[in-house]
Symmetry: C2
Subunit: 328 residues, 2 copies
DNA sequence: AATGAGGATGTAATCGTTAACATCAGATGC
DNA sequence: GCATCTGATGTTAACGATTACATCCTCATT
């Protein structure tokens, strides 16, 4: 209704200068007389004053906002990472803005511009698409952090996440070790950095690219379902399928169920991420566990690091784990 | 690295005043000569200039940020609403900040203060907890919007969502119609406004409160699971269970599976929300469909509405739908 | 009593943008 | 030729906070 009280209103009411009020709200209380502190506190309370983050940001040329760009906020794994980051950031006094790129390069670039406009303290990208604008921003701002997928060749910026190649490798080796046949890899979109790292690792693991059926796929249940339908109807076999994430695996599984196929007797399915739904809704899914909740602290640490930390592209590699369950 | 260019830098480079540059970036281009437009455009591009949202917000005493407070961002239904709102807001030039209250009153109040500090254009609450601070804010700022759960008695603010009482009523009537017995209601926490509206509706629907076993529960799978274990072990019966949301229903179902109970022969389960996972992972779940994707446009409309819209607590009631599947 | 130290507080410039108002050049009307 | 108008652009005072620097006061010291 009425516009919010400013530092000046508080100063006037408590009979001090704006400088003193500012000191009070920036925690420099040991330089203020106790009586003054009390009177400022009172006045602020009476007026219902909250310092304007905007005024402060302008003055300090530094906002407390961190922008997180995600390809799909309804992906449970993505959401887990976002929650973890948000809560870690709050711990160091920062807010998180979440925005969806919808796996769309133009949309991503628009959002990057927005983030720049907000003078974001940092920009965290879960699944970035390689565009000129992105490269420009990395070079000029140097406050971008790549989460879960490494930046493309030639982009120097810190990365937080597992080693996707090694994870793919581990799955591939597991396939060999167990003697699985009819390998299928449903991998993520090629425009995502590191989306293919998993695939490359997997191929290195099984040791023979020519025997791997490869499909490029969006990271959705729908896509997994469709790939499965095509595959299972055209050339039914006992496939061993490595899916780029759990969503794709869910979709694949559903198609298999509809055809009365059983895991692991008629079909082997591997997912990736081990999002928290698995425990409840897909306790059958063998997958690679990525520690979603460790992203927040790692990213917070990176942001608090003095600038040089960004510039030399320091990264934090998290551990992964093969989670073997019924489907393999 | 280097600090970002300002409007002054652009003005200097293109040889015009800051006012002209400002006009260009606020879209008042029809008052500028075409040649000037071009030179400003060029200069901005060369410098990589993006207007500072902070400077603009300060000057306009109005930010373009909308804060959304959610009790649990990893709940898929919540995430769907958030995505819908975010995308609708982007359509009208606003950004969304997402924050988790973690179902915690103190945390909610802290976040409300943060939102106030950001001078948020609006604050959207998915599941608000009734606190003095909340009431104060509603009265003083008048820019709060309640989503999915109505505000408590005495709080006048717009609401977007279904009529929870009517939905509960429909479920209760369906129970009667189908002749279900052994009614159980696992309802949400009492401190959520409207959490009990569903329960009250349900009781009105079945018509006899004394025959309804009631449990208060957090909105989690874990909680649903635990309630189910206790109930099914202590006094096994063919229960007909109305869960406060789908998560609770998932947990309940898992416990039932572990005991080799089948739906609907040994057990009837109703969920609530019909989040998008159901289609893929829980195609058996009977539930009340709440149109998550309609929240965004509705909320955007409310925010664009001139102030009086807020003040008289105008609301948008969305339709719901009983989605009967295998579990009932 | 004069000096100085040091603690508490005030003054004022500044951050990047917008917009009301001022200015100015050229076109128009008489 | 002068007044007037119009369209393009410039000048400048905000917006709300922070902070370097200045000031003032009180004591302690000599």
């Amino acid at each position: 209704m009425t516009k919010p009280p400013t530092i000046r209103d508080v100063a006037r009411l408590s009979g001090v200068s704006t400088a003193t009020v500012s000191r009070y709200f920036s925690g420099k209380t040991d330089a203020i007389a106790p009586r003054t502190i009390e009177s400022v506190r009172q006045a602020a309370k009476v007026l219902g004053y909250t310092p304007s983050e905007i005024g402060r940001s302008l003055r300090l040329a530094q906002s407390r906002v961190v922008v997180m760009l995600v390809p799909d906020a309804t992906n449970h794994f993505t959401a887990d990472i976002a929650v973890s980051v948000e809560s870690a950031l709050k711990g160091i006094g920062l807010s998180m803005v979440l925005a969806n790129t919808g796996e769309n390069a133009a949309q991503q670039d628009r959002l990057l511009a927005d983030a720049q406009g907000l003078r974001a303290r940092a920009i965290v990208l879960q699944g970035a698409i390689d565009t000129p604008r992105l490269r420009e921003l990395v070079a000029k701002q140097g406050n971008l952090i790549f989460a879960n997928r490494r930046p493309a060749q030639g982009i120097v910026a810190p990365y937080v996440g597992i080693d996707n190649f090694q994870a793919g490798l581990a799955v591939g080796r597991y396939f060999i070790e167990r003697g699985y046949e009819n390998w299928v890899a449903i991998h993520g979109p090629r425009h995502y950095f590191g989306s293919t790292a998993r695939l490359d690792g997997f191929i290195a693991g099984v040791g023979d690219a020519s025997r791997v059926l490869q499909f490029e796929s969006p990271y959705t249940m729908q896509a997994g379902y469709e790939h499965a339908c095509r595959l299972l109807d055209l050339a039914p076999k006992k496939y061993s399928v490595f899916c780029a994430n759990d969503m794709i695996a869910y979709g694949f599984y559903r198609a298999a169920m509809e055809r009365n196929l059983r895991v692991p007797d008629d079909l082997v399915i591997f997912g990736f991420d081990d999002n928290r739904l698995n425990e409840w809704l897909a306790p059958w899914l063998t997958t690679v566990k990525v520690p979603a909740l460790e992203f927040g602290p790692a990213i917070a640490k990176l942001i608090e690091m003095p600038k040089p930390g960004f510039e030399d592209g320091r990264s934090i590699i998290l551990p992964f784990e093969l989670k073997v369950r019924q489907s393999a």
